[in-house]
């Protein structure tokens, strides 16, 4: 930044930070190698979750390499890295909290049904705590007021135990409606709110 490059307001020109050519070539080589590795590892059956985590790990390494070197974050103002990383952090919060919800939805229902909370005194110690047993199967569930409400709202509700199940999906029972069934937007009431739609 010398004054020889000054322009009309006597401020120096922008002087670019030029990354050496070999760095770009090595970055490209690393990306190709990582692509080959991610394809190769996916051919090995390690279980879908392990394969998914490895694929995500390699993709994140590739993304970091692209961001640091092709997008110049490594040599750039740190604030640009803060902007970028913060978006990734909030994305992780968004996705992980959504997954906590959708994975755990309905799991507390049996406990909450056994120990109903008094909304006016939510921290009161529930009585008979030691005698509570988790129902192991939907058939063991006693009829509940919430099931009665949903049964009256929708006549063909199959059983009062519906509130206990994860409706649809791989770990729940098979979906009970095919292409001719109710619309996708139909949400089933369960004990505490809406469960996943049954397609």
């Amino acid at each position: 930044m010398s004054d020889a490059h000054a322009h009309h307001n006597n401020a120096p020109d922008h002087v670019p930070h030029v990354t050496p050519l070999p760095v770009y070539m090595k970055t490209f080589g690393a990306l190709v190698v990582l692509t080959v590795i991610t394809v190769g590892v996916s051919r090995i059956k390690l279980g879908t979750t392990v394969n998914l985590l490895i694929a995500l790990l390699i993709a994140t390494i590739k993304a970091s390499v692209v961001a640091a070197l092709f997008m110049h974050l490594a040599a750039d103002h740190k604030f640009h890295s803060v902007i970028f990383v913060s978006s990734v952090v909030f994305l992780l919060i968004f996705v992980s909290f959504t997954m906590f919800d959708t994975e755990a939805r309905g799991k507390a229902d049996p406990i909450e049904r056994e120990r109903p909370k008094d909304p006016k005194n939510p921290f009161a110690k529930p009585t008979g705590l030691t005698t509570v047993t988790m129902p192991v199967a939907p058939a063991a569930a006693p009829p509940t007021p919430s099931a009665a409400v949903s049964a009256s709202a929708a006549a063909p509700e199959p059983a009062p135990s519906a509130g206990y199940e994860r409706v649809g999906g791989p770990r729940g029972p098979a979906c009970h409606c095919g292409p001719g069934g109710p619309a996708l937007s139909l949400m089933q009431r369960d004990g505490r709110g809406l469960s996943r739609p049954s397609l």
């Binding site: 009309h8 922008h14 961001a67």
Partner: protein, 222 residues
């Protein structure tokens, strides 16, 4: 407000000047680049919603996702990955040659990036026509045969929406690259001023970055 007439020697970007509300060329350059980064954040969160949908439906209809993803050709996906990674390299080299005021090489590298982007879209075209022919379409239109799981259409909904929106970004990227190529051929860019090349470059790398996640999630592990 032409700066070139006041300085001696040959200089690139003859029409470049620092706008009066900026202290220096550096400040102006950084402001432009930070604007692009903030835009990229909105893009990350935009695609993030789609990735979130992917993980939700994968969790709900796991069997269908595993079964349906075998109908994607991972070889074509890998070929497209190589196309996009190489285009990221040529894009980075285009920015670099603009930084060292090599106008001709910048044009060549931008052209190479555009051609690789077109190659990506050609492969995508063959993939899409194959899917449409087999009836592997989003949920309501799905008519694929021989599936044992219940909801393969959900996978293809996710597949078409995610790759479709990504493909739209590639198309928009080609338009932006043509714009930058045109401006470069008019001699607008040099080591003094190349924020347009840099900004489009950042966008293009993000398109590559999204594909880096899409490829393994859709084609490899399902």
């Amino acid at each position: 407000m032409s700066a070139a007439s006041e300085t001696a020697g040959p200089k690139g970007s003859p029409n470049f000047h620092v706008a009066h509300h900026f202290d220096s060329a550096d400040t102006q350059f950084d402001a432009g680049r930070m604007g692009v980064w903030l835009f990229l954040v909105t893009e990350i969160l935009f695609f993030g919603g789609l990735f979130c949908a992917f993980f939700i439906f994968r969790s709900w209809y796991f069997d269908s996702f595993v079964e349906a993803h075998h109908h994607l050709d991972w070889k074509l996906g890998a070929l497209n990955t190589v196309f996009l990674i190489t285009s990221s390299l040529t894009m980075a080299l285009a920015v670099r040659s603009a930084q060292v005021s090599n106008q001709k090489l910048t044009s060549q590298m931008l052209l190479a990036t555009i051609l690789l982007a077109c190659a990506f879209l050609v492969v995508k075209y063959f993939e899409y026509t194959h899917k449409i022919h087999d009836g592997l379409l989003p949920a309501g239109y799905f008519s694929g045969q021989g599936f044992t799981s219940a909801h393969p259409g959900v996978f293809f909904s996710i597949y078409f929406v995610m790759t479709g929106i990504h493909g739209l970004h590639v198309v928009i990227g080609i338009g932006l690259l043509l714009w930058i190529l045109f401006r470069n051929m008019r001699g607008e860019f040099s080591s003094r001023y190349y924020v347009g090349v840099e900004g489009v470059g950042l966008y293009w790398h993000l398109v590559d970055l999204v594909w880096i996640y899409l490829f393994p999630l859709l084609y490899l592990v399902g």
